[in-house]
Amino acid sequence: MKHMTRKATRHVSQNEGLIFEKSSPGKAAWKLPPLDVPEVDTNELLGPLERKHLGNMPEVSEIEIIRHFTRLSTWNYAIDLGMYPLGSCTMKYNPRVNEVVSRLDGLANGHPYQPEKISQGALRIIKTLSDCLLEITGMDEITLQPAAGAHGELTGLLLVRAYHDSKGVPRKKVLIPDSAHGTNPATAATVGYAVENLKSNASGMVDIAALEAQMNEEVAALMLTNPNTLGIFEQEIHKIADILHAKGGLLYMDGANMNALVGKVRPGDFGVDVMHLNLHKTFSTPHGGGGPGSGPVAIKKVLEPFLPTPVLISKPDGTLGFDYDRPQSVGRVRAFYGNFGMFVRALAYILANGPDGLRQTTEDAVLNANYIRNGLEGPYDLPYASASMHEVVFSDKLQAKKGVRTMDIAKRLIDYGFHPYTTAFPLIVPGALMIEPTESESKEELDLFVEAMKAIAEEVEDDAEIVRTAPHSTRVARLDETAAARRPVLRWKPEA
């Protein structure tokens, strides 16, 4: 390595096979208490339905399980280890008090169907979080039922659909900017809408003239991410909302980038009719290697009759409860009430911040992104000069001349001790490097990142091969994804 990195060095990484390869008959990690009721004759109770064999399930001891998963864990990168500059993913610190309070007995062991009388604590949490999120978004009503962002999108578009249907004029299309997340078009299709692409202008924003031309009475809604996936705030947002509203359409906002706005500006104030939030992005609930998420949907009053059932209500006696009698509701989108454990964590985060902390968080997130932009402009091509909010998008144009693409630079970043940024997205930037540092990074970590990125840019000039073949410091490198997809091996099987 030409540039010695100040952040990462190699360390021992233990080999560890699959758990099935450690199994042998007679080992056990469990012990049940003696049965305090009579034993049953399973054959008599179940007859032919009784299961005799559990296939290749493992038999291992407790210490082996602890070591197995601990060793596996050391092969992961994580926020706890360092910066995770994934654009639009908002990988921020996950406060540990969130984990503690979500495990309190009465919350962790609360049954969703236990009587309302002994559910007031859980309902109070739902109510308090709902109120906070409504204040933060400037919206009128909210449902916390959706299980993740894409599920929130689905719920939001169901509301849009029910709204238009209730007017007796169902609409056919949803407009989606070419810079949008893949979930947007996938969701619109799931809800039965045709997707119409909306081009961005030269500044990376919605092309107002194009929107005006494409907007008509067939369009149910525009799904807009603001700031968009280039990290640019849609400066003509008021015009966008007006154009939609004039033709009876609704403005949907994908709240994936809400981390740029909290405490500074409210979507409800700039014309948004319906939006989802990602509690696992903006509100610090852990990503956990890909979930669970939580995707509350906040709406303006006009959509209220259509909210999924049940809806939380305050009763005359001051207690909280659920209202199931909602004739115009779009129905349920999930069993029970949503990912309650994530509500607890998100609320703990809001309480730890307060109004001043939330605002400072947003300011720091935007400051960090601009600091990186300033540090890397020059060594990397900046395709859109518009001001950046919480994330910045570069392209690999300069490096591509040497045959190095964004994925190569991303992989090389691993050798320098960082998780890669988001590669090749948004689609409107060929060879995109999409960087979102979040507020959780210190100046020192940001300086190390900028240093690493500059060092890689220099390597591209001097020794492009080392970048093209990165990473060089991991246990495995450049796994064969084509082979994995061509002949999928999706489970372990004992050797014949």
């Binding site: 559990l54 092969w75 990168y77 400066q235 409210r266 956990g288 979930g291 989108v333």
Partner: protein, 459 residues
């Protein structure tokens, strides 16, 4: 703010480097009329100790220490402590979706093990990395059958969890998929005759749950025979995963949509839980959700990657098999560790204890009240019909720190004063006896009140 790693000096230095006079410069792109020039009206910043106290108070208001006889899609099982010791490791807890395989092998290998164990337990060839929960997994499995068969409608057993059916109805309505509901018979099982006539040439699949909402184990083979004979697929929903330890899995199903909450996931007032879909290899390209596959790296070493991504939204956009992105990875890891702890023998013994507790409880309740749906085997739930409204009985039980069965009037008014009771390995004999005793008392008092009225009428 204690989560923010910057001093005022750092901030100043950074602004200076950028060439901004103040932080407000960076927010200039937001039109002035929309900027929020006041504090948000949210509670003030709290110390960690205050936060813990606030939630402790909520936890106490939420009931604590009751014996729970509720199931109905959310089951109270013991959670081995090593689940939390392991999932709280920052490398699992604070990792992102494993798109960068080189630095995500821990998550990827553990998901591969999860897929393997779910396949083993369900008797299917492949399983995905997880779905949101059992209800959405069932809806997605049905849509998968619609894509695979090219047919549009669905026959759903009325004995499928009512909220799962509601979720399916939501998804189906906007896809223009007609739903037919198939009734159950006196033994609690799907009415096979009604099923025969419910399946048309446009029926993509039959959806049943087994054990079903009443705890009754369906005759899946018979259902499969009818569905397949008529060219429809069979989707089986499994809400109580522990049943797989002792009940034959529905091997004749085409798709299985599972809720793995019973595998070490806390009740948590309804979520997060862990859905998962399992199926045959031939259908894998129509499967929704993430999949981990085994491959090799450039030096030939075994490794794991997310695979078959061309099914997914970030590649295929509006043509994806589903819009799902974030799933339930950390919860799947809980389930994974749980399955590893109990393993081949423990899961069976655990399931056997559930079965024994339930058999005992059903017998005790049956002495004084009516236990519905005899004649078909059940796992850990049963329906008790009483003379008195179960809400009234439950409110007396609560006085004894017992949460009684789920009153079914809302979902199945035709069953009258019925409640769905659930026992697990954590139900103690003494709690079962107390609950059964109070139900017996209710029956006696209703009966004696009736007799008194009858005597008065006779006089």
């Amino acid at each position: 703010m204690r989560y923010l790693p910057k001093s005022p000096t750092d901030r100043e230095a950074m602004l200076k480097a950028i060439g901004a006079k103040s932080i407000d410069d960076l927010f200039a792109p937001i039109p002035a009329e929309y900027r929020l020039n006041r504090d948000l009206k949210v509670p003030r910043q709290m110390a960690e100790s205050e936060i813990v106290d606030w939630f402790r108070e909520r936890s106490r208001e939420n009931g604590d220490g009751q014996a729970i006889f509720l199931g109905a899609g959310a089951y109270y099982h013991y959670r081995p402590v090593i689940i939390d010791s392991l999932i709280l490791r920052g490398e699992f807890l604070t990792a992102y979706t494993p798109y960068q395989a080189e630095i995500s092998q821990g998550t990827l290998q553990s998901i591969f093990e999860f897929q393997t164990m779910i396949s083993e337990l369900t008797g299917m060839e492949v399983a995905n990395a997880s779905m949101y929960d059992g209800s959405t997994a069932a809806a997605e499995a049905v849509m998968m059958a619609v894509r695979l068969t090219g047919r549009r409608s669905v026959a759903v057993a009325r004995s499928v969890h009512p909220e799962y059916r509601e979720v399916l109805a939501t998804y189906a309505f906007h896809q223009g998929m007609p739903l037919a509901t198939v009734p159950f018979t006196e033994n609690g099982r799907l009415d096979l005759k009604a099923l025969e006539s419910a399946i048309t040439s446009d029926t993509a699949c039959v959806l049943v749950q087994s054990p079903n909402f009443f705890g009754t184990i369906e005759d899946v083979e018979a259902v499969a025979e009818i569905a397949h004979r008529k060219g429809a697929m069979l989707v089986v929903s499994i809400a109580e995963a522990i049943s797989l330890g002792i009940i034959e899995p529905p091997r004749s199903a085409d798709v299985i949509a599972m809720e793995a909450q019973s595998f070490g996931v806390p009740l948590g007032f309804g979520g997060p839980y862990c859905g998962v879909i399992a199926t045959h290899e031939q259908y894998v390209r129509q499967m929704p959700g993430r999949l981990v596959g085994q491959t090799t790296d450039r030096s030939g070493k075994r490794g794991f990657v997310l695979t078959l991504a061309t099914r997914e939204q970030h590649i295929r956009r509006e043509k994806a098999t589903s819009n799902i992105c974030t799933n339930q990875a950390l919860i799947a890891l809980m389930a994974n560790i749980f399955m590893t702890v109990y393993g081949k023998i423990g899961l069976k013994e655990l399931a056997r204890q559930n079965l024994a507790k339930t058999a005992y409880a059903a017998q005790q309740f049956g002495k004084h009240a009516r236990v519905l749906f005899p004649g078909a085997p059940r796992f850990n739930e049963f329906v008790v019909q009483t003379s008195e409204d179960p809400y009234a009985i439950n409110s007396r039980l609560l006085g004894h720190k017992i949460v009684g069965g789920l009153p079914l009037k809302k979902f199945y008014p035709e069953l009258g004063n019925a409640a769905l009771w659930c026992c697990t390995e954590l139900s103690t004999r003494s709690a079962i006896d107390t609950a059964a005793g109070l139900v017996a008392e209710s029956e006696r008092s209703v009966r004696s009140a009736r007799e008194e009225t009858a005597e008065e009428v006779a006089r």
